[in-house]
Symmetry: C2
């Protein structure tokens, strides 16, 4: 029998095992620039037992398996570079349990963050990780995603308390639990989080929840120079205001947004800040933020409390990535993702802007200034070899600048396909041990091959 | 040549390689009940190169090596159960770098938390993990320690950004870095944190720092019943007050303190709370806490802002463990360390009190109610086999109660010697993979043998 028939026999449902061209095509790429490759079959499991049946079959026959969630990966994690089986986990989208008094939820991997937050609202709770896209919790755990809220609430690894994982040979193991903390042996939960589908498939995820703050506002402040904006951000962080979000967008990025949306935002380095907490702490925090910004010569200061007005105020920030995309129809995007020590970020952004100018490129630069992570979004034509080469050069220079200043090649997108070389440059002496761990959990190398390691 | 001569040749300093009986004796035990065992030699390295020289020597000859910090372990981690070499790391106590603008410090493993905090004060920063004892940062990282502050700031694993580790064969590897977050490959940093000296010796630790809050207060509230105290704590957590500390002490424990210190604290279930942040948020938070406590029939409410008065108010909590110790001179202590899902803690504490009453024991019960972690401190005579058996029974029943309610056998003390059996019960299906990882990093099993695994 062929691969399709074998899998159909195991799943027993023609709707959930497919070789339909359109479906294969949909599973050939993520949201970024990497070369697409179709899987041979796509399976939509509904249970851990089905995932286990597929994996033990694939493991015996050395067939590659690639887990797939919402398809929003930016580093090619979900491209089955060696073909084989793609496991689409979106039908495993049950919220198994919400335990408001324990501040946790137990979810299947295909639950998306917006789906979870919708269900949490009535409990006055929310799940704080927001990478922008409506990704699945499974996918976010796989890449250790974070986003704008991480300065206050931490990254995915901080939220995941426990996992059910199906390993390459079909064995189902459990890590962590429902206790908020534990010192019981090696932290396998944290090891699986960020393993990008190379160690196993998550089938159950226990996540921490947060209380919805009493008050939230949004602040937008423009500065004469990038250095002053950055200095204001540093002052805010040091003052202990503990912002919910603090984002830096440079002048050229605002210009790109103005062109794209026909808006007239002041084309100046801009901080987008969110404060949340008790009403009085937000009020006091806002005053303090204003003072600190004025001290750095802020040229405009806007604040909104109403949720619609807040969303409007954040628009320029949210449109930045789309602006670049829209300005270059038909082109594909590369988003750099370096993270540097907090104090090094202003210089890193200035250096990056100089670099893309030098190469004559248009780029959006978006900075999570609270944790030193920033993105440079570059558009290019993958068929234009010369352009590809230049984009890769720029990317490599941005990464090496970050590494030479104590930073990392990826703050939140993961290694995937595109940063494998940089992983070696960053962690030369520990990569052999990462490979040893890979070998331990997946001796036949069937789990998402071609990712993380060269 | 013998072991001593070999090591002396490698270290070249008679002051730092010793077989002095008193020194060996000092390195034979931690602060808990486990049977002492002396090492054959104690070495005090000053550099990673010296640690590496000792380990590669020991690895070739299959000699056990046990790392040792402040000696405050509660689970026998530092007892060299198979003899061999103890590496006392307290001479590696340099604060290598404080980078206030990056909110991080780089320290050697022998730096203690008080030493670090002393140095940080002038920068308006502090290191938030406080396990009570003035432990070394290396030791705290080894056991993934936490303590009263973790409800607000997280545990050791959340603070450690990067490590320099000397592996069993003497190889020096680096993990993590100075970026606040990273998705670059498997999280080896988090794997080493909590590995209890079984995977390698930390020689450099990069830790996150926090700004000292503008205002801090201390609140002490008594309740008619344990259930009401627990319900008040739950309400406080859900109200989003975000306490810096929130501790629950039961009636019998306050009685023990009163006997020990000749104090007259109201013998009632008591919550000790600390709020910190901006002055206005502390003020508002205090009001809210008071309301929530009154709603649960609080019988007394005390609040202090001055640092001396705050310390005084916390005394009953701080003396609880000593009270038990003092009441039973010559006896040794066992401190349980289970952590249950937050909502399960009140019932777990009530159950534990019933249990120790049933066994006719005097015990202090101290709960980190914000994270579901509580300690039952039991005194016993290790020579009295009958008493040892009863204490072990009580401990086992407390652990199994926690495990059957989704909890963990250790919230912050680690597995060490005493909880190896419970690790298997808690993580039966993943312990084989923990062992695989141990094998990968330490194939000859020289690193702290007899700990974590049976």
């Amino acid at each position: 029998m062929g691969l399709y028939e074998d899998l159909l026999e195991r799943i027993g449902d023609r709707e959930r095992v497919t070789i339909n061209e359109t479906v294969l095509e949909q599973h050939s790429k993520g949201m970024a620039y990497h070369e697409p490759r179709k899987p041979d079959v796509v399976v939509f499991p509904r249970t851990a037992a089905e995932v286990s049946a597929v994996l033990s079959y694939a493991n015996e026959r050395r067939i590659p398996v690639t887990p797939f969630g919402a398809g929003t990966s930016l580093e090619g994690h979900i491209i089955p570079v060696q073909g084989g089986i793609t496991l689409n986990l979106t039908m495993m989208n049950n919220i198994i349990d919400i335990r408001p008094d324990d501040f946790l939820a137990i979810v299947e991997p295909g639950v998306t963050r917006m789906q979870l937050n919708q269900a949490l609202k009535k409990h006055g709770l929310f799940f704080p990780v927001d990478p922008g896209a409506d990704a699945t919790i499974g996918g976010m755990a796989s890449t250790n995603a974070s986003g704008t809220n991480s300065v206050k609430y931490g990254v995915m690894r901080d939220q995941v308390l426990g996992l059910e994982v199906v390993l390459a040979d079909g064995k189902i193991v459990h890590t962590g639990g429902m206790a908020v903390k534990s010192s019981a042996g090696y932290d396998l939960t944290g090891l699986f989080v960020g393993s990008e589908g190379t160690l196993g498939v998550f089938t159950k995820i226990i996540v921490r929840l947060q209380g919805i703050p009493e008050a939230t506002n949004a602040i937008k402040v423009s500065f004469p120079t990038l250095a002053e904006a950055a200095q204001a951000a540093a002052s805010i962080l040091k003052a202990g205001v503990s912002p919910g979000k603090i984002e830096l967008v440079d002048e050229q990025t605002i210009q790109a947004v103005n062109q794209y949306k026909q808006t007239d935002y002041p084309a100046a380095p801009t901080l987008f800040i969110e404060l949340s907490g008790s009403a009085s702490s937000v009020k006091d925090g806002t005053e303090l933020v204003k003072e600190l910004c004025v001290a750095e010569n802020a040229v405009s200061f806007e604040m909104e409390e109403d949720s619609v007005a807040r969303a409007k105020l954040w628009e320029a920030r949210h449109h930045a990535a789309f602006a670049i995309q829209a300005a270059y129809p038909g082109k594909v995007m590369l988003s750099t993702d370096v993270c540097v020590p907090i104090s090094k970020m202003p210089a890193a952004i200035a250096e990056t802007r100089k670099l893309v100018d030098e190469y004559g490129m248009t780029a959006a630069i978006l900075g999570h200034v609270g944790d030193g992570n920033y993105h440079t979004i570059l558009a290019f034509d993958p068929a234009d070899k010369e352009e590809v080469k230049r984009v890769e050069e720029v990317n490599a220079r941005i990464v090496r600048y970050a590494l030479s200043h104590g930073g990392t090649c990826t703050g939140e997108h993961g290694i995937g396909i595109g940063k494998r070389q940089f992983l070696y440059e960053e962690h030369r002496d520990s990569v052999p041990f990462m490979k040893g761990i890979k070998q331990l959990f997946d001796p036949n190398g069937i789990m998402n091959p071609g990712k993380i390691f060269l």
